[in-house]
Every structure is written in C-alpha cells, then in structure tokens.
Symmetry: C2
Subunit: 338 residues, 2 copies
C-alpha cells in the first residue's frame, strides 16, 4: 500500500476544501501546524467568527506511535498494542445561521505494524528519543517489507484499513437538503458497488446515535471503518470519491440557507441542539477518543465542538412547532432516497 499517496491526497484535499470555504465565507482560515512529541504532527485550518461559518476546522494529521490506542483497536483486538501510523483529514463546520446545518467529514487511513518486527527492539527502559528514532526506522523497514505483503491481508509486514464518511446535522430540517446530501453520498460510492451505499448509510445511522438520548445525531450520511475489503487501490479510490464529493454534498445546502432570516428563537434552539453535538463527540466519538487517548493535540481534536452551546433541563419543543418538526420528521433514521 502507498501510505504517502494517501497522505498527499489528504493534504491536497485540505487545501482544496479550505480554498472553497474561504470563497464561500469571505474570510480566511488560519493555518496552524503542530508537532506531536510522540511522533508526527499536523496542520489545523481554522475559521472563527466568519461571515457564514461561526466556527469551522479542517484538520490534517499524520501521527505514529508504538502502541495502537484501544479506541482504534476496538474492532480488531488482535492489533492491540501494535505500533502504528495513521493519517486523516477531519472537518466540522458550524455555520452561524440556524437554518444551515452543521456538517462533518472524515477520511482516515491506519496501518498497524507486525508485532514481531517492532516489539522486540523497543525496550521500555530506552530514552524517548531513542525509542522514537527506532520507531521511525521500523516504519521505514516495514515499508520496505511491503513487497512481501498482500494488500489488506494480515501479513508479516502490516495491515491497513480506511475509515471515514460524512454526516449532516440540521437544526431546522429541509427534505431537499437531506435528499441532496444522501444522493451525493450515493453517487460517490456507486462506482464501487451498489451495495455499499445502503450499508454505509445504515452504519452511519448506527454510529451517529446518542444512546443516552435514544436520538440520532442528525439526518445521517455515510460512515465506514476497518475497511480494506476491496484491496488497497480500490479502497483508496473510494475514499477519494468520498473526499472529492464533500463540497458538492454540502456547499449547495450552505448557499441555500446561509442568508435565511432568523431571530433569537432559532439561535437559541441551535445552541440547545449543539449540546447534543458536544455530548456525542465527547461521550461516543471514536475519533475524538482516539485523539485524546493517543496524546493528540487537544485544540485540534476539540475544534469539532460548537462555538456556543446551551443546556437546559428537560426541554421539549412546543407541539407542532418548527422545532418539534426536527424531531418528528428528521431525527428518525429515515431512508431519504426511497
């Protein structure tokens, strides 16, 4: 597998998305590069108090370490504790206008190295710098070993997988927005098999679900993880299809809603519903937990949290109000395309 190609694609996608969002907003993102003491780093592109986006982050990272965190090995217990590298692009946009939905998109690629290559040489008593140098050397060694490996299959060299998806979280729902978003997702996946979209759509509904609220996070989209079943080239093409379709999936919705008139009432409901976003990301989200557990950069990880949020006790929308409609017609795990 060509890990560098994935990394370069994600860096180019970050530039492309940031430029398009800047044109839409009229304000510029700041670019903030950081290094991780345990290895790797990233660049966070952040816009706050924009004309359209109240807060938005488009974050690239490439990290490595000598122990895969539990959040990343949950679905693959045989990999617990292996050395790894991971690269990802993660994006959350919180528009100011309550009629414009929040959106999230993520693409990530993991690779875990064969235990026997790494563990025997990394003695716990080594100094941190020496251990890091050795890890880097072993990463290079493992890459060299790749000619012996069959992509996507557990081999002596390593195993890899992709994850990602995108999902939409409206405060006031519009059927045409939900349909457009899901249709774009379906089109992005279509070249790789018609069965993928229903499967990734359902996975998204199951993943972005607030168990303690018995409530979906939004109207869904697509989600996939531990994905390597098509072989590396096809998997990489698939995530490129997803990444390349993001702007097409979201920008028309943002343009349609960004200038809708609103009052304090809608802003208040938006702030209340944003509380659910915080609850999901801090209690359930695998990416957030991976970041915090792997010593990730807190400010970049928590860039996903909304700029202003309200909690209030046991609040219920008035019957038949626009707010009640969100719960009744949109937060129901619906199939938007049939």
């Amino acid at each position: 597998m060509d890990f560098d190609a994935v990394k370069n694609y994600l860096l180019a996608l970050q530039d492309h998305i940031v430029e398009a969002l800047q044109r839409a907003d009229g304000k510029h993102f700041i670019h903030d590069s950081w290094q991780r003491p345990e290895g790797g780093g990233g660049t966070s592109c952040v816009l706050e108090e924009g004309n359209v986006l109240e807060r938005g982050g488009v974050n690239f990272s490439h990290v490595m370490g000598d122990k895969l965190p539990p959040s990343a090995s949950a679905g693959r217990p045989e990999l617990a504790g292996r050395s790894f590298e991971a690269t990802g692009l993660s994006l959350v946009l919180h528009p100011r206008n309550p009629y414009a939905p929040t959106v999230h998109m993520n693409i990530r690629c993991f690779r875990a190295f064969n235990k026997s290559i790494v563990a025997q040489d990394l003695q716990p008593k080594q100094g941190a710098e020496e251990a890091l140098a050795q890890t880097a050397q072993q990463v290079r060694q493992a890459r060299t070993d790749e000619s012996n490996a069959v992509a996507g299959v557990k081999t002596a060299a390593d195993i890899w997988w992709f994850g990602g998806g995108m999902d939409l979280t409206p405060y006031y729902g519009f059927e045409e927005d939900a349909v457009h978003f899901h249709r774009t997702c379906r089109e992005a996946l279509a070249p790789f098999g018609a069965e993928l979209h229903p499967r990734f759509k359902q996975w998204c509904d199951e993943y972005f679900y607030l168990k303690h609220r018995k409530e979906p996070r939004g109207v869904g989209g697509i989600f996939f993880d531990d994905f390597n079943e098509l072989g590396f080239e096809n998997c990489f093409a698939l995530v490129q299809g997803v990444g390349d379709s993001f702007l097409q999936a979201y920008l028309p919705i943002l343009q349609r809603r960004r200038d809708t008139a609103y009052t304090e009432r809608e802003r208040d409901f938006q702030a209340y519903r944003r509380g659910r976003y915080v609850e999901f990301n801090l209690v359930f989200d695998r990416g957030t937990l991976f970041g915090l557990q792997s010593g990730g950069r807190t400010e970049s990880i928590l860039m996903s949290l909304p700029p202003s949020v309200k909690w209030r006790y046991d609040w219920q929308p008035e019957a038949n109000s626009a707010e009640a409609k969100l719960y009744r017609d949109f937060l129901i795990g619906k199939d938007w395309l049939n």
Copy 2:
C-alpha cells in the same frame, strides 16, 4: 449496614440544601420525580434562570440493577456483573456571576450483592418484569442475610462502600474563598482522623484533573471512593459530616461574590472556562459515566452541565490579566491551608 438510613439521610439533606439555596436565590427549585424502568428512581430539584443561580441541580437517586456497570466496578473487578443498589445525592451549582465559583458535591453509597444469591436465579430468558420482581426479592433476602455479615468486609451477603466529596471551580480566583472551602472540608473530616484530609484533598486533585489539558478542574476540595475502612457506622458519620458542611463551605463564598459588578468580558471568560467543566464531566467523570451506562435518567445526570458554554480555538489569556491569574495562581493543585 443500614442502607435505608443512608437513603433517608440523603433525602433530608436534599431538602435542607434546596431550602437554603432557595432562600439565597429568592426563586424556587422545581421538584421532578422519576422512575427507572430497570428499578428505582429519584427526585431532581432544579433551578434555572434564578436570581443568583443560572443553573443548579440537587439530585437524589436510589437505583438498583442486576449488573454493576463497569464504571462502578473499575476499582473492584471482582464485583463486575454483580447485582447492586446505589443511593446518592449529587449537586452542581452554576451561579450567573462570573466572580462566584461553580461548586459540586456528591455523596453516594453502593452495595453489591453476593453473586451466588442472585446469578443462579436470574435466567436470561425470563421476562423483564419477572426478573425485576426477583431482583427486588433478592435485595430483600440479602438484607435479611445481613446479620451474618461483617460491615465493610466481603461476605456471603454483600459488600458496601461510600464515595463522595466536594470541589470548587472558580472563574476568577480568590484566595480567601479557596482557603475557606478547604478549611471547612478539613474540619468536616477532622473527627475521623487527621490523616484523612490530606489524603482526600490529594485524591480530589488527582480525580478532577483534565489529562488532555494538563489542567486541574478548579481549586479542588475533597474526594473519596471505595471507602469502607472505618466500618459502617463511622463511614456513615463521615459522609454526614461532609454533607452537613456543604452549605457552610459554599454559601459564604456565594454571598460574597454574587453581587460583584461584571461586564461581558467576564461572562465570556466564564462561558469559555465552563467548556472545561463539560469536557471533564463527559470524558472523565465516573459518576456521569455510571449514570449513562446504568440507564440512568439523562436529564438528571446532565444537569451538571453549565447553562451556556463557549469553545474557541487555542485561546490564551493576555499576560498578567485577571484571566491569566486564574491559571497562574489557582489551577495549580496548591495546598491552600499551609
């Protein structure tokens, strides 16, 4: 052990604290009783948009179940999966004035029943109602068996423990407030041994720590868990000492700060810092996780979250500002009494 006595004490303490806070605020708490499908229930007392308290909750609960959740058995793996009952009083107050600190107090009592009594009779295929009736019967049986049990020691009947404490989270720090709070905590514990306060103070500093921020939640207080080493009577007396001292620890501080003049700047900093409170409670807090994992009542559990919160990217206080002082002089795990 007399579980009912603990429960009755906590109910009386809830009344007492709610009445005192109502006198301080001038507005009344709502009382909201709820039942839990899996057994037990509680009463949440809630005040929102008060004159002094922007949001406050004083929540009593008594719950039971046939499987102790992981968050409660983390420190006692031998109890994983046992049937249990738990009663607690949990309180978080978020004053509106940014010069008045947020405060948290909690007292809880757990008991886990002997596996052999319960597990063999609870067949997984039974209907939920029948299983619940059996659990209730076994709770009664286990209580009857108590004459054979030595308090605080693992026996054929059950084992029990207390947990709790209180901690203070200022937005703008005042040394006299921190000293008064810690001194009151020390006095509450003094009758039970001079070594307890330093131990519970340190435990609090370690527990209320945001690892991903490398930052204490506030100026601390006391925290204890899995506590039964003094025998039931003394442990119960200790938690009563803690509960009874809460108003004395906090009300003078609230009265001193509630009418301090403030501007949007202080409110803004308060909203930003409240984000840390959310992060701690949703990512780390054992009580929150226990509640959410045990099918607790979400609105009562998340009553601890602040009413309005802001996140902003990589914000740092201006050097030598009042906001910088909080980090420099207060969020440092200091010994306030020596």
